[in-house]
Subunit: 230 residues, 2 copies
């Protein structure tokens, strides 16, 4: 699976969040980090880039409950009617994900809260775009008040984010386990021969055993469920 991360941020160099996210993806294969810059877009080049990828990510800080203007300009110029739904559906079956950061508190995004609406509601225009283009809309990936996160919370965020970008099945526990196994196998081949290599291999062994046990449990449960349904 190939992923295109479209980064829309007017002050990218000053953004700690974006720096962190970029570093998180440093060793990830099949990821294209694509920063939008002021000015007009090369429509054909942008459309080609979209077609080469399977998962498209809009990544931005929330400004007035939406993306910064630069992403909208990109949408207005690049996503021509004919490309998205007119003569063909060039984006059909691709995935659309939203990585959105905000300095506002998570608890404000609720009816009666400070922001009055949930992020799911505020991001409807992107969901509608995905629908029009026959894309699969992924659950948005929100980052609230990054600057206040503990180191531990940032590490958890890093792993979730890596999966949101590169794991084709990031929503199921099974998919997450498989992804971890892949990452560890890669790690082992990288550090071959060192003492870390052995430790990592042991961890991988434990995770694989766990997964096999869980898969067996899953089978047993589904058999019990089948019996009950009869």
């Amino acid at each position: 699976m190939k992923t295109l991360v479209i980064v829309a941020h007017p002050n990218l160099v000053d953004s700690g969040t974006q720096k962190f996210l970029k570093t998180s993806l440093a060793k990830m294969d099949s990821v294209t980090w694509h920063v939008l810059n002021e000015g007009h877009f090369d429509v054909t080049a942008e459309q080609d880039l979209l077609q080469e990828n399977d998962r498209i990510i809009f990544q931005f800080p929330l400004y007035w409950y939406s993306a910064p203007a630069i992403l909208k300009q990109w949408e207005d110029e690049v996503l021509t009617r004919n490309f998205v739904y007119g003569t063909g559906h060039a984006l059909a079956k691709k995935e659309l994900g939203i990585v959105v950061s905000t300095g506002d508190r998570q608890k404000g995004f609720v009816a009666g809260g400070e922001e009055q609406f949930t992020l799911s509601e505020l991001l409807r225009p992107y969901q509608a775009l995905a629908h029009k283009g026959e894309m699969t809309y992924l659950p948005p990936f929100p980052i609230f008040q990054f600057a206040y996160l503990s180191e531990q919370a940032k590490q958890r965020l890093l792993v979730s984010y890596q999966q949101y970008i590169t794991n084709s099945d990031f929503e199921s526990f099974h998919g997450q386990e498989l992804w971890f196994e892949q990452q560890l196998s890669k790690k082992i081949s990288e550090v071959q021969g060192s003492s870390n290599s052995q430790k990592t291999a042991q961890i991988l062994g434990v995770i694989q055993d766990n997964r096999e046990n869980l898969e067996e449990l899953g089978w047993t449960l589904s058999m019990i469920k089948d019996d009950e349904d009869e």
Copy 2:
């Protein structure tokens, strides 16, 4: 009441809808027609303009379920945190209205429809902005498929639009009647002495009689209601 119409349209000269709307307001007092042009904004001048007006209108064609990028850029630059909700609430108690045109069919904007969401849902980011700034959010004024409207439908649209922009109480029937009376009085003073003047005065008389009759009916109904509640 003073109204500021902020027009965001990348191809204004080619837009029949915008031409029609502009003409509709030609003889309206207290309306400022403010077109956003490409480039950066004079933040102080824009903020002053906002403060001089009571009703703020965002007027635009719907591009990808939102305003064209130029309006978002204006929002991102002009609506600074301190201006809207930081140190003060410069827009508090002002009204925010949305005039949005689309070539898509009205019936598509519904769950299960072609666009999947209602316009009310898609415009949530503006509603959230109004909430944050302690503004009153007006029911949006949508224009569907303008090019296909009959002449009669366009005339009805013209009058509704004029009221959306200039009538402080456009939602109640009583407010609409008062507005019509004002418009006719203005018309009469303009055409003083001509044969049209007499006809217009007669129409005004009929409307005024009607309103008085309706007001009496309203009183009677509210007395009946009071009796029932006791």
